[in-house]
Symmetry: C3
Subunit: 349 residues, 3 copies
């Protein structure tokens, strides 16, 4: 496929500076792109490379120095690059139908153009939308509902009664709807609390590999529309994740946590059960959140605190040994003074 610079500019909501008729048939980085390809400048650190790149065109912001090159000016070159990459690399979906070796139970409805691979297991009563791709060893338990344009990679399990929206992609080995971790103390042992709720994954969610989202005890664990969840993340029962959240690898979210919209959580962070995290809050990697977090707050550390405060504290931390020594020395000096200056009082005691 090839496009003129003008055609690409329209697709990217940008405008051309230079020759709009230049033909582009691929893309690369500032270092790797060659004639006929387009590249982009998002990080000003690499601005000097614009002068030397062999690419035929560059996606830049309005303020960038263009060195007389052919450019498309856009607001967000990184986003534009993502769009170009999608344009030049996406391939038509292959419709495999229902392959031999796929197991389909009773009372199952499957929409148009499925790709259901061998060794897939679809239990009774499952409902599947159009253009769904189920890779090998996917297991759908009884009563699962999948929307349109869903892709489940090999080894994904969707447990009984869980519902997956449209345009959802789930990577290999991820488990949706395993039992929440709930037990009542029964003397020395533990009595299992039945987990009879489900999980609802809304539209446009993507979940990485080997992650786990537990079913609610009674009602629904919900992942909001457009949220993106990385590998090996744990989301416990009853959680309510808002829209367009970003949850990086190995995060652990305990039971009944509420995340607002557009919350970002760095890798390996943990959130205590029942916490409420406000819209647009940012939680740094490895943080331990033991309390609610206000909308828009940026927190880090264990226990998590305002990120700026913690940075200051962390900067002092390496001085602790010298601080302790100074403190001991000062205490001795002070005692000496107090003894010298207040002899009467001391004698009086």
């Amino acid at each position: 496929m090839s496009k003129t610079l003008q055609e690409l500019a329209i697709l990217l909501d940008g405008h051309v500076s230079g020759d709009p008729a230049v033909t582009i048939s691929g893309l690369g980085t500032l270092d790797s792109a060659v004639a006929g390809e387009i590249t982009f400048l998002a990080n000003p650190r690499y601005a000097a490379k614009v002068a030397t790149t062999t690419a035929s065109a560059i996606v830049v912001t309005a303020t960038a120095e263009t060195f007389g090159k052919n450019v498309i000016v856009v607001e967000n070159p990184y986003l534009a690059f993502a769009r170009l990459l999608t344009l030049f690399t996406s391939r038509p979906r292959v419709v495999k139908g229902i392959m031999p070796g796929a197991f389909v139970g009773e009372d199952v409805a499957i929409g148009a153009d499925p790709s259901i691979y061998n060794n897939t297991s679809i239990a009774d009563g499952v409902r599947i939308g159009d253009r769904v791709t189920l890779h090998p060893n996917v297991t759908l338990y009884q009563g699962v509902v999948l929307g349109d344009d869903v892709t489940l990679h090999s080894g994904v399990s969707i447990r009984e009664g869980c519902r997956i929206g449209n345009r959802v992609t789930i990577h290999n080995g991820t488990v949706i709807g395993s039992d929440g971790f709930g037990y009542a103390p029964n003397g020395k042992s533990w009595f299992k609390i039945p987990q009879i709720g489900n999980v609802v994954i809304e539209d446009d969610v993507e979940i990485g590999a080997n992650a786990t989202v537990d079913r609610a005890a009674l009602e629904t664990t919900r992942i909001g529309q457009g949220s993106k969840i990385d590998n090996l993340v744990q989301i416990a029962h009853n959680c309510q994740v808002g829209d367009n959240c970003i949850i990086v690898a190995q995060v652990g979210i305990a039971g009944s946590v509420t995340l607002g919209n557009h919350v970002s959580i760095g890798g390996q962070a943990a959130i205590v059960d029942h916490a409420v995290i406000g819209d647009n809050a940012m939680i740094s990697g490895q943080s331990g959140v033991f309390n609610d977090v206000a909308a828009g707050a940026v927190v880090s550390g264990t226990p998590a605190m305002q990120h700026k405060t913690r940075l200051k504290c962390a900067a002092v931390y390496p001085h602790l040994p010298e601080m302790r020594k100074t403190l001991i020395k000062l205490s001795r000096s002070m005692s000496k003074f107090e003894n010298n200056l207040e002899p009467a009082a001391n004698v009086g005691l």
Copy 2:
């Protein structure tokens, strides 16, 4: 199904206050339960809702205000609720037999009433008890032994020679008996130490999704009777986990750790290899345990220390920047004093 309040009270080891003939056919929360249903009050924070709930009866403790409602008085309403939930929601197990597409090797013994789904793989020499459920894509390697009433969810792998007790449930994708992580340094590279032991999971254990329990190098990694393990937990080779332990999601337990009975470990905590953790010890979430922990101790932090001490330290931590400033100021003041008050000595140096 429906029961009289009197019948339920007997099941719960409690007694009725109010009308014992009231008929109950379901249950809900204080907010959601309607006529014909029973609810419970475990957290005193919600005591006022007893007056306004539309439930036909409430499970309470002896000290609760009942507002003249029909109640069952028990010692532990939370446990009673779990029992009622089990009573009203559990369904009879479906016996599927051995479904087409299940692979069964040679010299395999399978007990009464199995449900072995399509795409299950059972290697040679496996022994399976009565009423076992193996969901799709379960793999049992050679020589595995499963007790009675075991449920393995889709994608579970039990490696060669591992033994699973009675009434054990393992959720999707969990791996029992992968090789322990053992290598001997061999100059620059690493020489693998064969891991020829196994894993034994005792009766009444439940393990969550995508967890891993490694086989012992020479002997047995053991999970004690009644212990409950959450999603994405790692238990390394040679560990000895006691009875009725609670291990929350994403905990990592290094090699040859011994846990006593009834140990609780919060999410994402880690325990260093060879540590010994005493009975009833509690380890907070995200702790890093680098030493043994005494029976009954409550520890937190990295490195883990007595929880109460750490709370006090954590409360001081945000004051570090101001403490450092004060310390510098005090040092200067002290120097000034010492210069003023001890001029001879200073001159002498």
Copy 3:
């Protein structure tokens, strides 16, 4: 199988002290080994057990007290033990061929002596070397390449276009080549950046269970020759892991990190994206590495710092409450002095 002590000494690059004709047919620990077996002493703590063991021979270092026993003297008894364990316990590989119920796509090349179990899925265009073992429910996506002597345990998924070297073992449920976690902000929502690179696993790598290695955005995520990766580890897109690294369970490595050769990373540690870790660096368990780490450095803590410094700081940390009290007391004393000694100045204000 049995060997004389002399034969074993040659295999271990050691020499016999005592009777070289003694016959050995197995091995055990200092406590468990019996007549006819060999044991070893690696940890000097157990030196006294050499006198009392019932083993027929012991592997020791040159400096060990041998109590007149038959011994093999070597440089590294632990490594020698690993070699003996391999010698006495390894069994010949069983060649299963391609079992019924394995799915093999078009244009697939499979080398000599495969063991490809039931329920394995091999997509079109896959290339497989000699003596490869694929356990049940392994999924190889389109265009995957496996070298010789590869073992993939049940539930492993290798995504499209990824390449696995020779003598690689991957344990159950691990995912190689899932999409990297890359999204461009698009106002409130997130635009997926296509992940069109792959993963290359070099020779002699071993990866544990339920780990995840993401494919690169554009190029290759690489795991260097001889590196060993434990269970539940996350390696993000574009990472370059050097040779012979050791990465313990639940470690998280963010995108585009470079590890040198022979880097060791303790369990649950995390490394921030784009960090560069030098050769032979050691990162302690649970560390949070937010910056580059120099070759040979030993770091720990969050944020990670020199391990020795952090140990000193951690030793002071429990004193924080008492330090704060002392500081407040000193400040008060100092104020009193300043008021007494500088009355004119204070009045002047």
